[in-house]
């Protein structure tokens, strides 16, 4: 274990080992059931679900194959580096022969444990991540030797402090304005420091050659992801939940294998397009989800509601940092020098991002533009703006987004929820009313 664990705990209360184990076992069990249940429901929704989804169903089991692989890799001396936010430069981790995994938590039950440390007003993703760590629930978090935490929103900022009670946390100070030269240079500096940290920690030097191949690896992943996206632009050939799961598995799967499997999925989908075998009727309302990240396995209720509702909707795109934002932007390198590669990496994470943690005079216009483009490209009928309570940044930006979309005559609906299963009934009423409204717009 790292030195950090010896340090006196600042936030976390001592919990008896017995209680930890009891809680872990019960939540793990219910989570396994939830995973199986979600996959079962996904299979049921689409009669002709792609066969290649089988791989992703398996890798989606957080307590399954991938956990074993990570353990085996660690025994071989490899390091696992976790990250909490999509701003962590994955290319650097890969270039140092370490394994990147995202460790943000989607467990509903764990968020209740987080309540012991932080008030309920705090974003449930943060509470759940704390809770999951308290009972050692997440295998990826447990296997991480260090965790990169870019300080984007307020929740992330304090979360990294709380997690320091357990783990080696590497924070990356993050600019809130992206268009000034100083913010880019300070962020580039952070990225360069992170490179040195990773090198020191893993003992592997990040050479230009290694970094280049890591960048190219991620570019190929982006290529595969974009191919899947292009397929979703046409008539629905894959249900949104399936595609969302595919995208999200990239945060813990071996990225090379993930790319291959995604390409295989795209091949199958292309065949389906040729055969005109659609996942759901072609006139199903096409939905875009934007807002707070939706993290597998528990926080899958909204996509499930949308795609199982009557009238049905199909999610063809999202603007979530747990979804389409993960792999959308490639690192574009001009000259393959170390310096230029690092600048390109830092630019890709900072400049291309549409996170609402940025502020600007023109009102985070990048996000609006990206949404408008997506709405056009994916022929979106309606947008669901999804926020978990406590997620200030997304909640506050709603009005701005709403105005922009209204000018395009795209209906948008604000849905706020919690890390809880109890409000499914209420959500269902709203989602169905919204979908009804959309189908009426299509009908008349």
């Amino acid at each position: 274990m790292t030195k950090k664990s010896i340090r006196e705990k600042m936030y976390v209360p001592e919990i008896p080992q017995k209680e930890i184990e009891k809680l872990r076992n019960s939540i793990k069990l219910s989570s396994k059931k939830a995973i199986a249940d979600h996959i079962q429901r996904m299979k049921k929704t689409s009669a002709n679900r792609p066969k290649t989804m089988k791989y992703f169903d398996e890798i989606a089991d957080l307590f399954g194959q991938r956990e074993k692989e990570l353990r085996a890799a660690k025994e071989e001396g490899k390091k696992v580096i976790g990250y909490l936010c999509t701003f962590a430069p994955i290319e650097l981790i890969l270039a140092a022969d370490a394994i990147p995994v995202r460790v943000s938590s989607g467990w509903y039950d764990a968020s209740k444990l987080g309540d012991r440390i932080v008030p309920v007003e705090v974003c449930p993703i943060i509470r759940s991540t704390i809770g999951a760590k308290m009972i050692d629930l997440s295998p990826y978090m447990e296997l991480s030797d260090a965790i990169i935490s870019p300080l984007t929103c307020d929740g992330m900022t304090k979360l990294s402090e709380i997690l320091s009670d357990y783990k080696q946390i590497w924070t990356m100070s993050f600019p809130r304005v992206k268009d000034t030269p100083s913010s880019l240079s300070s962020w580039t500096e952070e990225v360069k420091n992170m490179k040195e940290r990773i090198e020191e920690f893993t003992g592997n030097k990040i050479t230009g050659k290694k970094l280049r191949s890591a960048i190219e690896l991620m570019q190929r992943a982006t290529g595969a992801f974009r191919r899947l996206q292009d397929l979703r632009k046409g008539p629905p050939v894959i249900m949104g939940r399936d595609a969302m799961l595919v995208t999200q598995t990239s945060t813990w799967d071996d990225i090379k294998r993930w790319t291959e499997k995604t390409e295989a999925l795209c091949d199958e989908l292309e065949k389906k397009v040729r055969e005109k075998s659609w996942a759901c009727p072609q006139d199903t309302s096409r939905i875009l989800i934007t807002g707070t990240p939706m993290i597998w396995p528990d926080n899958w209720k909204l996509p499930a509601l949308i795609e199982e509702a009557s009238p049905q909707g199909v999610i063809v795109a999202d603007e979530l940092c747990s979804g389409d934002r993960l792999l959308n932007d490639p690192v574009g390198v001009d000259e393959w020098t170390m310096d230029d590669m690092l600048t390109a990496i830092s630019e890709r994470y900072l400049m291309a991002s549409t996170c609402p943690c940025f502020t600007s005079e023109d009102g985070n216009e990048d996000r609006i533009n990206w949404l408008l483009t997506k709405i056009k490209d994916f022929k979106i009928n309606g947008v669901i703006y999804y926020v978990v309570r406590g997620c200030m940044l997304y909640a506050m930006e709603y009005t701005r987004v709403k105005r922009a979309l209204e000018s395009m005559d795209i209906p948008i609906y604000y849905l706020d929820t919690e890390y809880t299963r109890e409000d499914v009934g209420q959500l269902k009423t709203r989602v169905e009313a919204f979908l009804e409204m959309l189908s009426a717009r299509i009908d008349f």
């Binding site: 209906p411 209420q426 009313a433 009804e436 409204m437 009426a440 717009r441 008349f444």
Partner: protein, 266 residues
């Protein structure tokens, strides 16, 4: 157009009561209401049977039943369903053709719906999962003031000034009322404070939606003159209330049933 007469039914499975409306060729021939109780399914079945008896129509002649309301899954033998907001919009415009914003305040929920001249829903809002903006709040407060529910409205109209209370939650609202009682405020003033607080919540919800006239108020609470007066004051306009506002949801469902039955026939 159609040869045989078209008889359709709409069932509104509300949180407190079940409402049924029967239409014949698009005209209301019967309506009925029953307290939901512990077994809403049975209640609904009974309400439907009673309504049919009143209208003297045999069950078998019904072409289409559409259900709506929060307990829509429990509706008996419905052919289709429609969301509450969809039903509100449909019926609101049917009853008052100039309606463009419809506010539905029920027992435990308040909703705002924006619609076009054809009764199609354009946008909607729902109150934040708390009964403070809905009928249950008045009920709880009436208990605290020891007056009958029906008396609350007329009572509040006698008030001379407004005293503010917190209506973020039924429980906190009640403790506010208790403190007003302790301050020896008169009953009419407290009653008005209650309606004002409620109207405040409903109006801020509707403002989020955007108000386009005419504004129509429906749902059980629309019958309460005190609330209507308070809402008029906070919104700064005259809201229209149709006859039998509590049946609007069921009527909307019945109208949808009428259209759907017509569609399948033609």
């Amino acid at each position: 157009m159609t040869v045989s007469t078209l008889i359709t039914a709409g069932i509104d499975m509300g949180t407190q009561s079940v409402k049924v409306v029967i239409l014949k060729e698009g005209k209301i021939i019967s309506r009925n209401q029953a307290f939901s109780g512990f077994n809403p399914k049975e209640t609904a079945e009974k309400a439907l049977t009673d309504a049919l008896e009143n209208a003297n129509v045999p069950r078998t002649t019904i072409n289409h039943i559409t259900a709506t309301g929060s307990g829509v899954e429990m509706a008996p033998n419905s052919d289709s369903t429609i969301s509450m907001m969809g039903a509100d919009a449909k019926a609101g415009v049917y009853l008052i053709p100039s309606a463009r914003t419809i506010i539905d305040v029920g027992a435990e929920e308040a909703r705002g719906v924006k619609c076009d001249s054809k009764g199609r829903m354009l946008n909607f809002v729902v109150n934040e999962r708390c009964a403070a903006g809905a009928g249950a709040f008045i009920e709880a407060m009436a208990r605290a003031l020891e007056v009958e529910l029906d008396e609350m409205g007329p009572l509040s109209l006698k008030a001379e000034r407004a005293s503010p209370i917190n209506a973020s939650c039924v429980i906190f609202g009640e403790s506010d009322v208790v403190s007003l009682i302790h301050r020896q405020e008169s009953k009419p003033e407290i009653a008005r404070a209650i309606f004002d607080a409620m109207a405040d919540r409903v109006s801020s919800m509707v403002h989020r939606l955007g108000i386009s006239p005419d504004v129509v108020l429906i749902g059980g609470v629309a019958k309460d003159v005190g609330f209507v007066a308070s809402l008029n004051r906070t919104l700064g306009l005259e809201v229209l209330v149709p006859e039998n506002p509590e049946y609007t949801g069921a009527l909307g469902a019945a109208l949808v049933a009428n259209k759907r039955a017509g569609d399948t026939k033609n």
